[in-house]
């Protein structure tokens, strides 16, 4: 693209120093123009409220009276709050339970669809769970997994197996929440992968096939490497989403039993709207933000290694 002639180059202000010239180059102006609408939306509905949340994190604000500045008090309290650390631990565990399985299953599903059946029907079917809201999904699974009234346990009983409490047991609740979310997001994630698979030229597979490569080998040599941009996207967004798990917990467990599912965003919500500690909730949000920034940078670095997407 550097070779592309720029017809407007002549109009570029000439007397500017080179560093500034870059700012006013035609391409830069175009770039800014292209992102302008999105940027306005970003500033109004993401950046400003984030800055506001950041400043609130240095105050004691119960939502009902004006905030009172307290400096770093919320952050100090947070370090000393065992519930906060426990919530972080639970969240981390949840992400570990959720992400690997969900990603692998989705990729498997996408490849199966790509290589076996390209039918719209199958694609429409696998996205069905995603059509239901998180809340409704949690409600369905309350029924399905109910220890006494649920199909799954009735079925286990028919097989002579012991009933499982799922949401009701502190040992199973978190994994159950993860399972429910894998169910809802598997098809959705598969569809993302599937869209990525479509951009891989068919000819590559045909050529490999003629060379006698197995499906397995083609997957590792062609599919996976060429799917990298989509994989980065899937992993980054699902890790961010997974760290913010909330709805399923709110409906199905309420953070229980005995704090087994008190994930960080649930604890933030509790503090903000039940304990009326918005300042504290904002401080925790900032810590979560930092953790996610680190994770995201790591992921992007990892996946970009030796091969820049931005070339």
């Amino acid at each position: 693209m550097e070779q592309a002639p720029e017809p407007g180059a002549i109009q570029r202000p000439r007397r500017l120093p080179p560093a500034l010239r870059q700012f006013f180059s035609r391409e830069a102006m175009t770039g800014w123009l292209f992102i302008l609408p999105a940027f306005i939306g970003f500033v109004l509905f993401y950046l400003l409220p984030s800055i506001r949340a950041f400043s609130i994190s240095f105050t004691d604000w119960n939502l009902l009276r004006p905030p009172r500045p307290v400096g770093l008090e919320n952050y100090q309290a947070l370090v000393a709050d065992p519930n906060f650390w426990h919530a972080l631990k639970v969240t981390g565990l949840y992400v570990l339970l959720n992400i690997p399985l969900q990603t692998v299953l989705a990729l498997l599903l996408a490849v199966l669809m790509d290589r076996l059946v390209r039918s719209i029907f199958v694609r429409a079917v696998i996205i069905l769970p995603y059509l239901l809201s998180n809340v409704v999904v949690a409600m369905i699974f309350l029924w399905l997994l109910h220890p006494i009234l649920g199909y799954i346990n009735v079925f286990l009983g028919l097989l002579g197996l012991e009933r499982q409490p799922f949401f009701g047991s502190p040992d199973q609740a978190l994994a159950t929440v993860a399972g429910v979310n894998i169910w809802r997001h598997m098809g959705f994630t598969a569809l993302l992968f599937y869209a990525g698979l479509q951009s891989i030229p068919r000819s590559l597979y045909e050529a490999a096939s003629i060379d006698g490569a197995s499906e397995w080998r083609m997957f590792w040599r062609i599919t996976l490497p060429l799917l990298r941009p989509v994989t980065v996207f899937v992993l980054v967004t699902s890790v961010i989403g997974s760290f913010q798990i909330f709805d399923t917990v709110a409906v199905a467990t309420g953070g229980g039993p005995t704090y087994a599912t008190r994930v960080i965003v649930w604890y933030i919500y509790e503090n903000a709207f039940q304990f009326f500690k918005m300042g504290y909730a904002s401080a925790m949000s900032m810590v979560l933000f930092l953790i996610l920034v680190v994770f995201t940078l790591l992921q992007m670095r990892l996946f970009r290694a030796g091969h820049s997407d931005l070339a």
């Binding site: 409220p49 390209r118 239901l132």
Partner: protein, 306 residues
């Protein structure tokens, strides 16, 4: 492309030519995954066709002994309030108004959000300008702060704009972008071969022309995929439209359907009504999905011929 080469692809749409053990395993896996996906949805249908008085007693049955359409009539507001309350239902909802509002709400957001996000994504993927990567990362970082601490500032902003209880207030946070959409499209635009654009630029085309006539058409699959996902997410959006809309005739479906959910601190939802309404609410999205999905397939076949 000559027919000899296109044939295997077309054939693969329907027929399996060789049943190798690997393929059998693959088919079984696919079938299992589809079954796992579909089975829980049976709860929605089964609950929807069960009479409210029989729901709990027949909880463990796979099929209600006496299926009924009563709940669908209730969800559509086709029974009298008295009749509704007599079976433990809640006040009637205006399903069709809510449906219309949802369609309008979703359509506005999907079209404008996808377009503006695509513009930004193109700039992030292709154009060079100072601060590009930083701004892109900021966009992404915006999704990392929990909504619980963001919506109050947003609400106050919309209130100060005088947009409470208006359509523009309801769509405002969504119409210009979501980080998800920008990120998604950027990743796809990165994968588009550069040669196409370079040729156009050499011919003296403007960046907008390249974006509009080259990038968008060849990105039909990701665009439609994104539009589908945005449609679903917008259709399911509850909290913001709920908190911004006051009048009943402004309610979108999710807000109206909330009626069926827990009304009291220690109460139980109107399960049968809720599931019937849920079922009705996903029908339009499902139809759209199949229609758009067909589009994707056609566009694939089209680009395959190029």
């Amino acid at each position: 492309m000559n027919p000899v080469e296109t044939n295997p692809i077309r054939v693969r749409n329907r027929v399996v030519y060789q049943l190798t053990p690997g393929r059998i395993v693959a088919w079984v896996l696919l079938a299992v995954l589809i079954f796992i996906t579909l089975f829980p949805l049976w709860i929605v249908i089964k609950t929807a066709i069960t009479h409210p008085k029989e729901l709990f007693e027949q909880a463990t049955l796979l099929f209600p002994s006496d299926p009924t359409l009563l709940n669908f009539r209730r969800a559509l507001g086709m029974v009298s309030l008295e009749e509704n309350l007599a079976v433990g239902g809640v006040a009637n909802i205006n399903f069709l108004t809510a449906m219309r509002n949802s369609v309008l709400f979703t359509l506005t957001i999907v079209v404008s959000q996808t377009f503006f996000s695509a513009m930004a994504a193109y700039a992030f993927a292709r154009l060079r300008f100072p601060g590009r990567d930083l701004i892109f990362f900021l966009f992404l970082a915006a999704t990392m702060i929990p909504g619980a601490v963001l919506f109050i500032p947003n609400f106050i902003l919309v209130k100060n704009l005088g947009w409470l209880n208006t359509f523009q207030g309801m769509v405002a946070p969504f119409v210009l972008m979501t980080p998800f959409a920008v990120f998604f499209l950027r990743q796809f635009f990165l994968a588009v071969p550069k040669e196409l654009e370079e040729a156009a630029y050499l011919d003296g085309a403007s960046p907008f022309y390249v974006f509009w006539r080259i990038i968008l058409p060849i990105s039909k699959t990701p665009l439609v995929t994104l539009a589908i996902l945005t449609t679903i997410n917008t259709w399911n959006e509850f909290f913001w439209p709920w908190i911004v809309s006051k009048d009943n005739n402004m309610q979108v479906l999710t807000v109206a359907l909330k009626m069926f959910q827990s009304q009291t601190p220690q109460g139980s939802p109107d399960w049968t009504g809720l599931m019937a309404a849920t079922f009705l609410a996903i029908i339009p999205v499902f139809i759209l999905l199949v229609v758009l999905g067909r589009q994707v397939v056609e566009s694939l076949q089209f680009s395959g011929l190029k």
